[in-house]
Amino acid sequence: MPDVAADSAASASAGELVPFVPDTEIAVVYPLHHGLKPPISRVSISWARGNNLRVSLLRNPPSNSDSDGEIGGKVVEVNLDSGAADVREPAQWRRIAYGSVTPFALLQSRKNSASILSKLQSSPSPFHLDWWEYVMEYSKDIKELLGNPKSNYNPLIEDPKEVLKKGEEPTSLKAAWELMEMFYADKLCQSWLPERLVDWLADYDCLLSGDQPAVHSKLVEFQGTLVTLQVIEDDPKYWEVISSALAVGWLEIVVKLLRLHGSYQLDQISRRETENGLVETVAVLISMMPRMRPELKNGKLGECFKAKPDFMKAWEKWREQITKLDSSAFWVLCDHRQTREGLKNLIQIMLGNTEILCTATSHWIELYISHFLFIRPFTVGFESMYNLAQKCVKMKPMSSPHKLLRLIIGIIGENTEVVLAECSRGFGPWMVTHAIELLTARSDQADFLLHKEHDDIGGISMEELHRLVYAQVLTSHFLTWQIAPVYLTSCMRQGMSLLEVLLYRQPAQHNQLLLKNLEICRLYELDHVSSNIMKIAGVYHWKHGRKGLGVFWLQQARDEFLLNKIAQRLFDSVGKSISGESFKQWEGLIELLGSKSKPAGSLEFLHKYRDFKKLLQQVCDRKTPDAARHAADLLMLLMKNPSTPQRFWLPLLYDSLTLLSWQGRPLLNVSQTNLLLNKLQELSMASLRPGIVATDLPAEALDSVRLALATNLGRAILEEQ
């Protein structure tokens, strides 16, 4: 259902968030194809990434008779929004999405500096005056992205019969962007807007042919038949397309077509001299048409005038020449009826005959352009442009106007809300988010409207809302979610909160994704979010058997609470099997836990305990008196330390039997031995109480330790005497 992606896109999310849509509009019902055998007993929903909605469709639980192996249900994912209408290729869409990030971010940062600067200076800053230039720079970058250079080629040998040149394949997205640019941002073209529109139509007329053929499609069709035509001027289509092309100002095409006229052929020129003269005169007059514009692109015809008085003078002179030609006596001498009538028709077009202009054009915008060219070349200001447009729409009504035409009406009708709605509905959230910058480039009124906070929807402005909607579209895809933060952070309050939600919803168990998430958090100083993400990752890894990784992430998150819980667990399990092999498993973790975090008392003990165990190992291996003395000191430290839990006393002493019964001289003096004996006594008393944790030590452990201590005491007394 690709259409829904485009149409419902707007309706589902962005498009209808504008007041002008009638409230009574009934929501469109889309079929949700699942391929299951009915009936469906339950439908359950869950939002996935961004604007993706996952719908679980469940069938009735099977009865005994139902043993056909049918599946029990399906989960389908519905994408409610595509980023930009007309961009069907996901790769092309991503190119646009990624490419527009830098220009957008640059413009935002310039905007921020400009606002800081204007706050510092009480007088209007010169920066502000040049703002539109920055917007134009931005617009240029964006426009480059929207082009479709695929079909851009220049043939080495020009085909004389090729009237329409193939260039860049136009897209309505770019067409809409150019409209917004010329009307809202480009200050330089304001004095020659009508001519700018003529150029625009020349580039994008091909997009308009739908139910009705546009001038462009008529030309394409005619070009197809051109090679087969013997006597071109006999064909009424020839004259028809020439008048259509002239009406919309495609002068070079008109001239080229006129010069295909049979009278130019060498074998006929002597016979049809007058006829040829008339054709050529018309062609010359057409190519001399005065245009009120600063310049014309290479290969385009007409004479440019920058100043209005010069243009008026030239225009009047040009019209005089046409009138003169119209009443010339040479027409009587022209035998070829079609040529005579066709040329006269062209003259009428140039003289601005409304009726003929109306016949020559198909869409109201074409008629509109022809008015600018031949009837009202001085039309300036939105009001008169709008009135003229209304007149043309009346003359050429359309049942379902193209979205570009609706956008034009919105623009010249000076209705910002309609423009936004049309942008959003027709061209998607990408367009509206980026085009807002054009809209506000020179208009304070639009700026006010877009930044006004709407209390009814939670104090959000239209600009922010559109950015949020677009960011949500970006988050809908795995490959584009990373750029959503750029747009989210450009809306301070709502955007940052949404960014937090977005980051929280990224899977934390994939290391690469996690690192990306943390990078974003660092960039936007979202420390609390990053510690939460690291905590999720830490718990995940710990519980999934990767304990070291778990501890690492919890440490990165500086989560003392969880680290202490882990320390407690380690402590408990170490306490249970102190002499066992499993201690080795925990040793690494103890190391890891101790490296950075502020360990709790229990962990501090574990550290000392580990050191003690290592030392004891050395003593057993090498039997050096120094190491033994050192170990004995450490044992005393551990036994004296109040953070050493009671249940470790016996295991510690039992492990230290080698020290207690050290060959040579006793390692512990009388008072030290007495202290240990007291501890042992305390332990024997405590062991009578219920609830004491039983260790894995042999039953005779207590007795062996007692014996060793007693022996040591005896030896120590003797030594001290």
Binding site: P2, V4, A5, S8, S11, A12, S13, V18, P19, E25, A27, V29, Y30, P31, H34, K37, R42, V43, S44, I45, S46, W47, A48, L53, R54, L57, L58, P62, E70, I71, G72, V75, V76, E77, V78, L80, D456, G458, I460, L468, Q472, F478, Q494, S497, E500, V501, Y504, R505, Q506, P507, A508, L513, K535, I536, V539, K543, H544, L562, I566, S582
Partner: protein, 325 residues
């Protein structure tokens, strides 16, 4: 536009996605819990990776525990029992789904259970068929078996209300999804029962000073107070001054604005901003999108509908989806 992401086994009765939409848990009529995973985060094709029988009878609802506490689900079964299952690799053992805890309740069934993360602790609200609501607290994130009963409440706005033995058919709980530490934990709860006082949705807030749960708002106009509530959903708040809560009753879906700063009487100011109609039967489920701007709903008539507010604050149905084979 739609694409299939998972095919479910015969007899599947409920589904639930985890926090990031990367794992799917399903329950079946004969007590099987299945977990579906995708090979990598970029993929949107999910296949079953584990399948265990957790109960003799059917599973009716599965709720994932918040990710800060690992990968675990609470399963409510047809007989009204509630059990907690966790995916864990214990010392030396491979990764497996393990039973952590079964919540027993004599004579009544569990109707709904939802988790809320509050600072360092996890809370779980459980609604029972006798109209009682219990709030449990988990103290150690590494031990999902140890839950402490923190409070027991009844869904009435004033504690003096008296009523006989309640019989509830369904309940719906939704936590305030904000993870803001400065806010007191809160949730909204509504019942579908034969006891009018219990039905209407009430907002409950934890009073830290007195360590108790307080009902601070009732989301029903005086005429609708006894209406049975089918579903409630608290919207994520990205910068609004008020909270947005959707409540579904027989009369339709109502959207409420709730301001979290209480008045002198301790009550929150609430405003009903919309009544959305369109469902023929019950509304079965309501889900807000991540921005809290779009509400998706599904109903017993099989329709999925999307609702949004326009700039004037008018709520409208924006699109609907009808299952078609």
């Amino acid at each position: 536009m739609e694409k299939s992401v998972a095919t479910l086994d015969k007899g599947t009765t409920c589904t639930s996605w985890n926090y990031c939409g990367q794992r799917l848990a399903t329950g079946s009529f004969n007590g099987f819990l299945s977990i579906f995973d995708s090979p990598d985060p970029a993929s949107s094709s999910f296949t079953a990776t584990s399948n265990i029988r957790i109960h003799e009878g059917g599973i009716v609802k599965i709720v994932w525990i918040p990710p800060e506490y690992g990968d675990a689900v609470a399963c409510i079964c047809g007989d009204g029992s509630l059990s907690l299952w966790e995916e864990i690799a214990e010392d030396g053992l491979p990764l497996q789904w393990k039973l952590c805890k079964i919540f027993h309740c004599k004579g009544s069934k569990v109707l709904d259970a939802q988790f809320g993360v509050i600072r360092t602790s996890l809370k779980m609200v459980v609604a029972y068929s006798d109209g009682h609501v219990k709030v449990y607290e988990l103290l150690n994130p590494f031990e999902l078996k140890n839950w402490q009963l923190q409070a027991e409440i009844q869904n009435v706005i004033d504690s003096v209300s008296t009523f006989g033995k309640a019989s509830c058919f369904s309940a719906s709980i939704s936590w305030n999804p904000q993870r803001n530490e400065s806010q007191e934990p809160s949730f909204v709860l509504g019942f579908n029962s034969d006891t009018p006082q219990l039905n209407s949705s009430k907002v409950w807030v934890f009073d830290q000073a007195h360590h108790r749960w307080l009902p601070v708002a009732e989301l029903a106009l005086s005429l609708d107070k006894s209406d049975q509530v089918f579903a409630v959903a608290w919207a994520p708040n990205v910068g609004r001054a008020y909270e947005l809560i959707a409540v579904a009753t027989r009369k339709g879906i109502t959207i409420w604005h709730v301001r979290l700063n209480p008045g002198l009487d301790g009550r929150l100011s609430v405003e009903k901003v919309a009544l959305l109609s369109g469902y023929e039967g019950e509304v079965w489920q309501m889900e807000w999108d991540m921005s809290g701007m779009t509400l998706a709903t599904s109903g017993t008539d099989g329709m999925v509908r999307l609702w949004q507010s326009n700039f004037n604050g008018v709520w409208l149905e924006q699109a609907a989806f009808e299952p078609a084979s």
